[in-house]
């Protein structure tokens, strides 16, 4: 084999060299090269990938893509290479060049071609040069980006050809940037390089900065001066965007706090019950999401993208019903005895945690992110992740919905009446015990839907609730007990303050500073940001 391989390579190189046109049109010419990927260590695989890239034959792209994703296998019996997808105990094979089905193979008949990070980088840049002329603009864009990261001077020629043929303006821009990156890494003259620095300076993001910083020392003095200007210009614009990014992080943290606290704002803020089991309601909501996703995975995989919307009402009902049960079973006997309530609900929280641990096991459960919750987009120089953005939107929607329920529905009216003056409300014919139970259920249900959202960013384990309970109390007390607006403003303030402290003080100290700040604040204003005034306070 060791003799055969160089021969094969030589042979295929000859073919490519002598008959480039034939190689372009005939994917079969690639077959020996692709099959060569089957053996050897990482270094040899890297050489083989580079050889494949050197043919410039776009037909190799699917095979390389599969290799990068770890889907390329070889059959042990004859050393043929296939794209294989696992289905249970067997693998479905696909021919890597013709992309036609090629039968199936058992688990032990095929072996995966191993790749590591270094190879993935090589594959990425190889794919870049192979797919520059692809018909799909998205693929061309990705190809140009890959060349930008690889900064390979050999790519300039291919880019020039592609730029001539390019019709899409966005792709064209990225290609020019990629060309600039490659030029800076090449031995072209200073004029070319100064133009390239100009292109990168207009690009103005971290990638451009990183590139300029890394090549700066290798440039001629003239170009170096231009690069230094570009660097300071980019750094200035990034600093401005950093402040904006920090505010966004703060709002995003604030929205998580708001979600966790808003249910508590009802049970503690409106009803005055110190509910230590509040975090567990959030946890149960997250587990409902997990169960819903499990059922969808096994019986209706097509519904996965909407799994969160199915989970929302179920989480609300589950947590809400458990909340009503807790109120009817325990808390109603303890009204007016805050210390006992605290201890009893703390006990309930331990019982719920251990129950979940017994049913689902102590390990984290996997809750998947639907596609629309994954990834990020760039706004200027800011990176905004979709899951955080949707959680901000969701938190505000929940807040608005809750406001609506409390202000515009008969149930909300009863709730407010009962909390403001219980005896008078009772005299008016309101069944106060049921209003208590339903209000507590509402608060718990809201905590449940918060759990659905938090399952997207935190891990779903029996301890999920514990990490939010202290923060939730902090938000409600800081914002002013009994006032939903206070909770909103409190959560956002704490989020932003936390995020502005974190870069300077670190995450640990930052948290301590926030706590100290709240303690001092409560000393000054014991009733929080938005204190309720009037007789309700005394009641």
């Amino acid at each position: 084999m060791s003799l055969l391989k160089p021969l094969l390579i030589l042979f295929s190189l000859l073919l490519v060299g002598v008959l480039p046109a034939a190689a372009q049109s005939d994917p079969e010419a690639l077959r020996p090269l692709i099959n060569n990927l089957a053996d050897g260590n990482y270094d040899e695989t890297q050489r083989q990938i580079e050889e494949i890239a050197a043919t410039g034959n776009a037909a190799a792209a699917p095979a390389l893509e599969a290799l990068g994703e770890g889907d390329l296998y070889f059959r042990k019996s004859d050393g043929m290479v296939f794209i294989a997808v696992r289905e249970g105990k067997i693998y479905q094979l696909t021919d890597p060049l013709t992309l036609e089905a090629a039968g199936e193979a058992g688990r032990r008949d095929v072996k995966k071609i191993r790749v590591n990070n270094r190879l993935r980088r090589v594959i990425r840049s190889a794919l870049g040069s192979l797919t520059l002329m692809a018909p799909d603009p998205g693929v061309r864009m990705a190809a140009a980006e890959a060349i930008f990261t690889a900064r390979d001077p050999d790519g300039i020629e291919a880019l020039d050809i592609a730029l001539d043929a390019e019709t899409d303006d966005n792709v064209r821009r990225v290609m020019q940037q990629a060309r600039a990156a490659a030029v800076l890494n090449s031995d072209l003259g200073p004029e070319e390089k100064i133009t390239a620095v100009g292109t990168l300076s207009d690009m103005g993001n971290r990638q451009a900065l990183s590139l300029l910083l890394s090549v700066q020392s290798t440039l001629d003095p003239d170009v170096q001066a231009a690069a230094a200007d570009a660097i300071s210009k980019i750094e200035q614009s990034i600093a401005a965007w950093d402040a904006a990014q920090n505010i966004w992080f703060g709002i995003s943290l604030g929205s998580v706090l708001l979600l966790a606290a808003i249910g508590l704002a009802i049970t503690f803020g409106v009803m005055g019950v110190i509910n230590m089991a509040h975090g567990e309601m959030v946890m149960i909501g997250a587990y409902v999401t997990f169960v819903v996703q499990e059922i969808i995975r096994t019986s209706a995989p097509g519904l996965f993208e909407v799994s969160l919307f199915i989970a929302l009402p179920l989480a609300f009902l589950t947590s809400g019903l458990i909340g009503v049960a807790i109120e009817r079973g325990v808390i109603r006997w303890l009204y007016g005895r805050p210390l006992e309530t605290l201890l009893a609900t703390w006990g309930i929280s331990l019982i719920l945690q251990q129950a979940v641990r017994t049913i689902f096991g102590p390990t984290n459960q996997e809750v998947g992110n639907p596609d629309w919750m994954s990834g990020a987009f760039e706004l200027g120089q800011m990176t905004i992740t979709y899951n955080r953005m949707w959680i901000v939107v969701f938190a505000l929607l929940v807040f608005a919905g809750l406001m609506l329920v409390l202000k515009k529905t008969p149930f909300g009216l009863y709730t407010r009446a009962v909390t403001q003056n219980r005896r008078m409300a009772a005299s008016m014919g309101i069944r106060t015990p049921w209003i208590d139970a339903l209000t507590f259920g509402l608060g718990s249900g809201i905590a449940g839907i918060a759990g659905v959202a938090l399952s997207q960013i935190d891990n779903v384990s029996p301890n999920l609730g514990q990490s939010y309970i202290i923060d939730s109390f902090m938000v409600v007390v800081f914002g002013g007990v009994g006032n939903l607006w206070g909770t909103l403003v409190g959560a956002m303030t704490l989020g932003v303050v936390n995020k502005f402290l974190e870069p300077y003080a670190g995450a640990v100290l930052g948290k301590i500073f926030v706590l100290v700040f709240i303690i001092l604040f409560i000393q000054k204003r014991p009733r929080g940001l938005f204190a309720l005034k009037g007789r309700a306070v005394e009641a």
Partner: protein
């Protein structure tokens, strides 16, 4: 209600007689299992309790030990560090166990140390830890920093060409000590101060936006950057989610983790994490017969084909077999005899080699670097050619580089200072 009470009382009576009966029964050798079954650490430690029960059951099938059956005594220290010491005392004094397998966090180990010293019993500790300790009654079957952290950094430096380092950890003793060692090591290798960023976060930290964006900024200084993560347990899931969402790929900024194993990945969609690294002494994907047998036995015992195996389980496998062999060699379960007999005992590990107990009560282990795969498993991309001897005292820290540990007869010292020639140089 009444019948319920009677039933409860009856059950209580039965349990107490069972315990009483067991205590009186001299035909068994008792093995203590000291792992949290509730509280924050239950997530990691419950699995180890089950692994120990399986190992004991298998040993009993093979005819037990010294002609007697083994009996497991399980207690729950509930992730409460002082309770670990109380439960350890209970195991040794009340239940009369001959060896204890347990603890996970360093603080729980520190909490039980005096108990084992005072009552002269044995503890097998299965988790990678920060080193800087060697105690006569404790056997460290997890990795010391030179068996995990240092080889991982070497790999990144040589194979990935990393020049800029983020050391991110949870704020407690293991990450702080490990990062101190790594910082000293990196500086000794010529890495400049400004190319190292150190960051600590609280336990269970869930908002990683700022730190991930800091890493991104730090990584855009034109040099290849990597993250060395000693982030503990639960906080990893949101960290990796944020990394994936922020589009940080392993090809650009790889993260090598020392606390993320198969068990931690079970709660994650690993598709976006492919290529990030972990350094351990064992991966479930190890392609050996002994490992395949172990996995089959584990699946049969736990009754779930989906459950994974991980590095601390292998450490218990090695530690338990070492103890069994040492007891057979000594012919008794007496602690002093076992401590003398166990040094030099060599047993097979699950990656196809052998591990030996060294005089410093650490063991020899191979070091593996694995990349996360989309099925939640690791693929070994690099491994040491042989095994590495666990080093109790780091060679890169000022206070400890002159210290050695040797519990064999003439020296019998856990912190012998080779400069002053005296036992008890510094440290514990």
């Amino acid at each position: 209600m009444k019948s319920m009470m009677t039933k409860l009382a009856l059950a209580g009576l039965m349990t107490s007689t069972m315990i009483g009966g067991a205590a009186a029964d001299d035909d068994t050798i008792k093995v203590g299992i000291l792992h949290s079954l509730s509280g924050t650490m239950a997530i990691s430690e419950t699995t180890l309790k089950d692994a120990m029960l399986m190992l004991i059951e298998e040993q009993n099938k093979k005819g037990g030990l010294l002609g007697k059956q083994l009996e497991a005594v399980v207690v729950d220290p509930a992730s409460d560090w002082p309770l670990f010491a109380e439960k350890a005392r209970e195991l040794i004094e009340v239940n009369g166990v001959d060896a204890v397998f347990g603890c996970w966090t360093s603080v729980s180990r520190k909490s039980v140390l005096p108990v084992f010293e005072e009552l002269n019993s044995l503890l097998f500790y299965p988790v990678q830890y920060e080193g800087e300790e060697s105690q006569r009654n404790v056997f460290y079957t997890g990795a010391a920093p030179n068996q995990q952290a240092i080889p991982a950094v070497d790999y990144l430096m040589n194979e990935e060409g990393v020049e800029r380092w983020v050391l991110a950890g949870t704020d407690y003793v293991y990450p702080r000590t490990t990062n101190k060692i790594l910082e000293a090591y990196l500086k000794a290798k010529g890495v400049a101060e400004e190319d190292i960023m150190i960051n600590y976060t609280p336990f269970g930290h869930s908002d990683w936006q700022t730190i991930v964006s800091d890493i991104k900024t730090f990584g855009s200084a034109g040099k290849k950057t990597a993250v060395v993560s000693t982030i503990n347990g639960d906080a990893n899931v949101p960290f990796y989610k944020e990394l994936a969402n922020a589009g940080i790929k392993a090809e650009d900024i790889p993260v090598v983790a020392f606390s993320v194993g198969e068990e931690e990945l079970a709660g994650l969609d690993t598709e976006p994490l492919v290529g990030h690294l972990a350094a351990w002494n064992y991966f479930q994907s190890a392609d050996t017969d002994i490992n395949a047998d172990f996995i089959d036995a584990w699946h049969a015992f736990i009754g779930d084909e989906e459950r994974v195996t991980n590095d601390p389980m292998e450490a218990h496998f090695i530690g338990f077999n070492m103890w069994v062999e040492a007891v057979e060699k000594a012919g008794t379960t007496d602690a002093d005899a076992v401590i003398d007999a166990i040094v030099g005992v060599t047993v097979p590990n699950l990656t196809g080699g052998y591990s030996a107990m060294m005089p410093n009560h650490h063991i020899t282990k191979p070091v593996l670097i694995g990349e996360i795969q989309d099925d939640g498993q690791f693929e070994t991309v690099w491994e040491t050619s042989g095994t590495v001897v666990g080093d109790a005292w780091s060679d890169y820290l000022d206070g400890s580089k002159d210290l050695i540990s040797d519990w064999r007869a003439p020296m019998s010292c856990g912190n012998f200072n080779v400069k002053t020639g005296k036992c008890g140089g510094s440290g514990s």
